[in-house]
């Protein structure tokens, strides 16, 4: 009986550590931050009449893994928001004051910069 408890606890330990590493490495937080910053930098350096296309397939895959079906990227009021699960989103300001519209086409995020 004590051996059984010992083995069970060991297995439980390795399962929990593996789950923790897997969850950390699946990287919702990392993806949210890196894409939000990427998009903000793109918008700040963009000029009028630019048409920016960004591959967001890693975001889509990550959101699917997290069973999140809401808006992945939102760009409005000088704020970029990237959300990959229902626990929260990463947001970052951009200073450019051009009119910006964003939409998702397939696995791409399309950003249009207008005067």
């Amino acid at each position: 009986m004590p051996e059984l408890v010992f083995i069970t606890l060991n297995i439980l330990f390795f399962v929990l550590v593996s789950l923790f590493i897997y969850r950390s490495a699946s990287g919702s937080l990392v993806y949210e931050e890196s894409y939000a910053k990427n998009i903000a930098l793109l918008l700040d350096s963009a000029k009028p009449d630019m048409y920016l296309v960004l591959d967001i397939s890693p975001l889509i895959e990550n959101a699917e893994e997290n069973k999140y079906s809401g808006e992945l990227v939102s760009v409005k009021d000088n704020l970029v928001k990237v959300q990959l699960d229902s626990s929260g989103s990463y947001s970052l300001n951009y200073f450019s004051n051009y009119s910006i519209s964003s939409r998702v086409e397939g696995t791409n995020l399309v950003l249009e910069v207008k005067k």
């Binding site: 010992f6 910053k37 990463y90 200073f95």
Partner: protein, 163 residues
């Protein structure tokens, strides 16, 4: 038989102690690795200075409207005033050929100016969330005369996770 049981108990205790140490090490390592923030403030400062440069200068010539009394920098450069005033700072100085300042603009969080000067001078600081700055100096032409423009831009736009 008794000794063996005691040994087994000791082995279990030590084993769980080793597991606990390994667990703490793995968790700290993973957390440290994945919580490292991506710092783009330096790049933002550079982009901001370029935006200002592009709106002040065209083809190496200083735009004449820069000297107008009603020159609205935010409107002309298409930069959001509210965002600049909350997380950024910039200073534009225009010098004539005698090195006298003929026009100056200071916008954003005023306290960042001193921090930027410290950073540009290359002094080491321990502050973690100190503003990241960029300075550029260019020679320009206005009405056939040589001028100098100095742009100092700083960003402390850290972003964050909202729950």
């Amino acid at each position: 038989m008794r000794g063996k049981k005691g040994g087994e108990k000791m082995f279990s205790l030590w084993w769980f102690l080793v597991l606990a140490v390994v667990c703490v090490a793995i968790i700290s390592g993973v957390l440290l690795y994945y919580s490292a923030s991506i710092d783009v403030r330096g790049i933002e400062s550079e982009i901001l200075s370029s935006r200002i440069y592009d709106c002040f200068i065209s083809k190496g010539n200083l735009n004449s409207n820069v000297f107008d009394k009603d020159f609205d920098l935010f409107k002309e450069c298409r930069i959001s005033e509210s965002v600049i005033n909350s997380k950024y700072y910039f200073r534009v100085k225009i010098f004539d050929s005698t090195n006298s300042i003929v026009k100056e603009f200071r916008k954003g969080v005023a306290s960042y100016e001193a921090d930027c000067e410290i950073q540009i001078e290359g002094k080491k600081t321990e502050a973690k969330n100190m503003v990241q700055c960029f300075k550029r100096i260019d020679n320009v032409v206005y009405s056939g005369e040589s001028y100098k423009i100095e742009i100092l831009a700083g960003s402390n736009n850290l972003g964050g996770r909202i729950k």
